[in-house]
Symmetry: C2
Subunit: 273 residues, 2 copies
């Protein structure tokens, strides 16, 4: 490969170092020259929004995204309204910590009706667009692998996410491409092209056979079946040149010292992304 991935774009999605607090993760990024971080809301709640914002400013670490809004479908109107309120809070938090992107994991169906659940997702996103606009936050619809359709998201292909984006006709909404979720898709190349100009994030990890755990089944880049390099070139051709998040749920990695994980992910990033 002639053109290596640029380390100035690498971002630690903090679930990759799950055992670190947010404070430790920011310090870890600074110590290991990882210029970006993606922050999870429950970790942000623990550390506090103001303290996080101050720490980020002092460290110089930039925030590639806040993870995550979404979870729109619910059985009752009241519960769906609550979810929308929570998404609005997430938008405010994103603005306060200085990122421009909130990642949306859209949520599963409360029953067997996927068509209805997908409609609720559509309505939920629509309901928060004005708030996102007002706070200067972009909403990144992340299609999740079909194996999460029952418990995490009814948005399962990039084509489906693209169709949603087209419906809103709002600059505030785009897609997030995570190699683990979309690599298998026969329509992937066409759909990345179709997403031109609306890609808000690019996440990397790998798919190593056998997958022994549905949630913690991701591997370090280079250990699996995904042509990550090829996908990066496609995403770049579609106009995305922002930070690239390393997002790996993996118990074996979590059990290692965080600094070792950051060193390894930088090596693999240059080699395989």
């Amino acid at each position: 490969m002639s053109d290596k991935a640029d380390l100035s774009k690498i971002s630690l999605n903090q679930i990759t170092t799950e055992n670190w607090s947010l404070k430790e993760a920011i310090d870890g990024c600074e110590r290991n020259e990882v210029p970006w971080i993606s922050i999870w809301r429950h970790k942000l709640a623990e550390y506090g929004v103001k303290q996080t914002a101050a720490h980020l400013k002092q460290s110089g670490i930039k925030v590639s995204s806040l993870c995550r809004g979404g979870m729109f479908p619910a059985a009752t109107k009241e519960e769906r309204a609550k979810r929308i309120d929570d998404n609005k809070r997430a938008i405010e938090e994103a603005a306060e910590i200085g990122t421009d992107t909130l990642v949306l994991v859209c949520g599963p169906a409360p029953d067997k009706d996927l068509v209805q659940a997908r409609k609720w997702v559509e309505e939920g996103i629509e309901a928060i667009i004005p708030h996102a606009e007002q706070h200067g936050i972009k909403l990144g619809i992340e299609p999740l692998h079909p194996m999460y359709a029952a418990d995490r998201s009814v948005v399962n292909t990039l084509g489906q996410a693209n169709a949603l984006v087209q419906k809103y006709q709002s600059k505030q909404v785009g897609v997030v491409v995570d190699v683990f979720h979309v690599w298998w898709d026969p329509e992937l190349a066409a759909e990345i092209e179709a997403a031109k100009g609306t890609i808000l994030g690019f996440h990397v990890s790998d798919w190593k056979v056998p997958i022994l755990d549905m949630f913690k089944g991701r591997s370090m880049m280079g250990d699996g079946a995904i042509d990550i390099y090829g996908m990066r070139k496609q995403v770049e051709a579609a106009g995305y040149h922002g930070p690239i998040e390393v997002e790996i749920m993996n118990q074996e990695l979590w059990d290692r010292p965080g600094d070792d994980v950051l060193k390894l992910m930088k090596e693999r990033f240059v080699e395989h992304v």
Copy 2:
């Protein structure tokens, strides 16, 4: 539900009673009034094709399909030719045991190049169509869930299988719809409609959260998230009225006495299919 599934269509895919030999499975079907069976090739090899054909004839149990051909992609031309020869043998076996359908699980890529692997699948199927025609065997392309893209099949959506079928323009080739593999697909209803007249099989099981094992993660109908009844109605509207295979890889079921499993699957079939 006003129109229950018709028990004269129920078929035991024999992997549902993995601990039974083929002889035991045929006897089990007869004892429990399950009129159809789907046979796996390794079990057939153990029992012998002639002995199986004789036993089937004597029992009156019909064969819904032989499982499985496919596995076309391989790194070398020689190996791909071997796979095609093996598929031809599978076609002959299917004819000898009196089924009209060979299920194709198309195989994974030998490397990271999914586009190339999918081309090999296309070429592989094309190569065996004349043999299938000659023996009166239909080839059922079964799209596998995207979570098997790395280790079992690069055909991962019904849309992709339909596109293959359209290319061949041969009455010998069609698709097999398995609820576990396709239920999540936002394009499912449209693609079942597009498959009109080419559906060669319908397989049922369920998706129960959490999935603890990628291969043995299926559940008994009614235990999970899939709207099986809705999908049966769609498949019937698309012209499929053949046998319905119960295909469940599940260790807990395998550990039960086979007769108990057959009784349970008949109850659940009427209730949920």
